[in-house]
């Protein structure tokens, strides 16, 4: 189990670990939103901050990149689609302007995912759930406890799904799946058992939760806003303001 997915909560005492989960969620939402308008100064500063926070939280950047490799392939695809154009005679060509634009888009997406991973790595699922319920409380017609539980379950299941995908991939390779040249056959052999296992695991998880009297009316973690949160929000706001820089 040492190779367990890096995506998920990692216990620790870093500054991020000690922040109120509401602060972290506010920063994630705010910075994700402003990153749509973020230019080079914002992206550089935000990325440097993110790398520093990954380090402080005890996460190895190499492992995180390995765990998110499928998302990185997706980003590569986005980059290629936005950059490569087919001119007369179906000859692919790349323009410098569109490459720069595509790179910025991919960088913003990567930043958002990185911030999300930081939140998940430094915040207990129960805290994420409690903070989300706090945010949703004033929203009419939304059962905040139920919505927060659903998000909490997703966060809980995500590392499990990645672990099962990795085990399944190993098992398929051990039985020579790479000799199958048809990518659709490979996809089918991978996805069908994965779905089956994920649904079974979800079933078992629900049974285990029910067996321990799970209900929506439970003791939630105590949330406390301290000076650290004020400082973090201040730094986050300053970082967000760098989108105004040319």
């Amino acid at each position: 189990m040492g190779e367990l997915s890096a995506i998920g909560f990692s216990p620790g005492r870093s500054p991020l670990h000690r922040l109120d989960p509401r602060t972290k969620q506010a920063l994630l939402m705010g910075l994700s939103l402003v990153s749509f308008w973020g230019g080079l100064p914002f992206l550089l500063l935000a990325s440097a901050t993110m790398v520093a926070l990954f380090h402080a939280a005890g996460l190895r950047l190499g492992q995180v990149l390995r765990e998110t490799r499928y998302f990185l392939f997706f980003l590569g695809l986005v980059f290629a689609i936005r950059t490569v154009t087919l001119s007369h005679g179906w000859i692919p060509s790349v323009s410098g302007g569109s490459a720069g634009e595509a790179l910025t888009i991919c960088w913003r997406l990567l930043l958002m995912v990185g911030m999300g991973l930081l939140l998940m790595a430094t915040t207990r699922t129960a805290d994420i759930r409690a903070a989300l319920a706090w945010y949703l409380k004033p929203v009419p017609f939304v059962d905040q406890t139920m919505a927060a539980t659903m998000v909490g379950l997703l966060v809980r299941l995500l590392p499990l799904i990645l672990l099962q995908a990795s085990e399944l991939s190993d098992a398929l390779r051990a039985r020579g799946i790479q000799r199958r040249k048809n990518p659709l056959v490979r996809l089918e052999r991978f996805t069908m058992p994965l779905f089956r296992r994920v649904f079974l695991s979800a079933d078992e998880l629900v049974a285990a939760m029910q067996a321990r009297c799970y209900s929506n009316h439970r003791t939630t973690p105590d949330l406390a806003f301290t000076w650290r949160d004020g400082l973090a929000l201040g730094v986050g706001t300053l970082l967000g303001l760098t989108v105004l820089l040319p």
């Binding site: 049974a207 067996a211 209900s215 003791t219």
Partner: protein, 249 residues
């Protein structure tokens, strides 16, 4: 009055398999009972009915005289279940969170939850590992964490589904010790297994199931000679004609 009782319990799965067929059993307070049977004999299905995770098609299950079907939450507060696959039972992000999950569901205050968690972790020898990720524990530690998660809810009865499966020798000894300690402290314990070797010497009762039915029920010394007829391997000491002996001294 028995603490757990099943009366003419029947359950058929969606694919037509008869999971349980007319199972009538009762368990007394403080009993250590073993339910043995081959794979697919209905052991786990029976436990899931006792804790209200499955609903009987016919028959009745009661815990403390109350129908489980009518109030499953009340039954789950009195009966805790340790699942066969400890991994599937892990819910929390850390050892502390996982142990606290049950007491949090009972809406206890934080101080009480902390007390219960500390006591449960101490009882299974996992104190000091509160901040560790459960998935990084060894197989034996995970099984003990699953027991702690149930103990923190202070149940009267513990149901354990194949508690020794996939454990190495030292981990099996440790889990066995925990079970015997819990029994000495007054817990009612019902264990399902197809491997009698480890536990049968300590059990007061042995129930054999086959094809969803109870086929034998009595004190282990009387029932043990019939077990191989139902696909269960008798303990080595029995095969050697020395009767039932403890697995470890």
């Amino acid at each position: 009055m028995p603490i757990i009782e099943t009366v003419h319990l029947c359950h058929r799965y969606a694919d037509g398999t008869q999971g349980l067929n007319d199972v009538s059993l009762s368990f007394s307070q403080g009993e250590l009972a073993v339910i043995a049977g081959a794979n697919g004999s209905g052991k786990t299905t029976l436990l899931k009915h006792i804790i209200g995770l499955l609903v009987p098609q016919s028959g009745l299950v009661t815990v403390g005289g109350q129908s489980v079907q009518k109030d499953p939450m009340a039954a789950r507060q009195q009966v805790g279940m340790v699942f066969q696959d400890a991994d599937s039972q892990i819910i929390g992000d850390t050892v502390y969170d996982d142990t606290a999950f049950g007491p949090e569901n009972l809406a206890l205050d934080r101080a009480q939850i902390d007390r219960r968690v500390n006591r449960a972790l101490a009882a299974v020898g996992l104190s000091g590992l509160e901040d560790k990720k459960p998935h990084h524990l060894s197989g034996g530690e995970k099984r003990r964490l699953a027991i702690a998660g149930v103990l923190a809810m202070a149940p009267r009865v513990l149901l354990m589904d194949e508690p020794f499966s996939n454990l190495d020798f030292p981990a099996t000894c440790r889990v066995l010790e925990q079970i015997l300690d819990l029994h000495q402290n007054g817990h009612t314990i019902i264990i399902t297994t197809h491997d009698l070797e480890k536990i049968v010497a300590h059990a007061q009762r042995l129930v054999i199931m086959a094809k969803g039915r109870v086929v034998r029920d009595g004190i282990p010394a009387a029932v043990i000679r019939a077990v191989d007829r139902y696909g269960i391997r008798p303990p080595c000491s029995v095969q050697l004609g020395r009767g039932i002996r403890p697995w470890v001294s």
